[in-house]
């Protein structure tokens, strides 16, 4: 891609995967990881910030919502948290990153509640304000900041959100 340093081998297609426990402590490291990847893949600083934030929102949703029914969520009070180590260690956040020519695609995958709790964000800032603190801003941000966003849910296998951003989405940006 355009900012490959001169003299280094040409940047190949990158396809990598990360598996984390669902803890809020992984969010900051994940953000810096994806931001550094995006930056050296040729995205502008503003685009890097948007990718960083969209990925953070999707990961935070896994940590907060995906496994809440099992007692694994940072939103639950201590007494409602599962202490079963087997349950906790089975609750994973998976991140898949694919980088090609001028394009970055991230999938955030969980094996949580999935279709039993379909992710739904607000459509506008006004709707967000009317809801008064009942959420929906995260998915609004993801849709606003990425060029393509797709949610897939199944009752058995959880939620997978795949988000794509292109290096120069001139048309897209103007459109928004």
């Amino acid at each position: 891609m355009s900012t490959t340093p001169p003299g280094s081998p040409p940047q190949e297609f990158i396809d990598l995967e990360l598996r984390c426990p669902v803890q809020t402590g992984v969010l900051n490291p994940l953000r810096t990881f994806i931001a550094t990847l995006a930056r050296q893949s040729g995205f502008s600083e503003e685009q890097v910030e948007q990718i960083e934030m969209a990925v953070d929102e999707a990961c935070a949703n896994v940590v907060r919502h995906a496994y809440k029914h099992l007692g694994v969520s940072c939103d639950l009070p201590a007494e409602e948290q599962s202490t079963d180590k087997k349950v906790r260690s089975s609750c994973l956040l998976r991140l898949r990153v694919e980088i090609g020519e001028g394009c970055l695609r991230v999938s955030i995958i969980d094996t949580g509640i999935g279709a039993h709790n379909k992710p739904k964000g607000v459509e506008s800032l006004q709707e967000y304000q009317e809801r008064e603190g009942r959420g929906g801003l995260g998915i609004y941000i993801i849709r606003k900041f990425m060029d393509e966003v797709e949610y897939e849910t199944t009752p058995e296998s959880g939620t997978m959100v795949t988000m794509t951003k292109f290096v120069t989405p001139a048309a897209k940006t103007a459109e928004k």
Binding site: T24, G133, Y140
Partner: protein
Amino acid sequence: MKSYELVVHPVENEADTRKADVIGCLDSHTVVGFERELQSVVDSGANVVILNLESLSYISSAGISALMGLTHRLRKSEGELYLLRPTEKVRRVFRTLGFTTIFRIVDEEAEVGSTPRS
């Protein structure tokens, strides 16, 4: 190094005004502590809160929601939340999402109390 800190300034002249610096990242990891500390600032009798965002390096929807909650609570009692000098990065997020028309963002403390909602 902490990933987040709220430094509350000692109260000076105006008894119902409180000032604090928000340092680091406001995300789902740190927002719980932030909300609790904000609450104790409000409980100490604050009606006007000035949050210095110069050293806030990142804010997620969780942080924005916390600021929205405080804004609503303060406005109910004719108070206000002022966001002082957010970084270009945080400002860009507010602007792109439309929060610049909701929050009172100021560049100088002197503007506090005199800024019309921009």
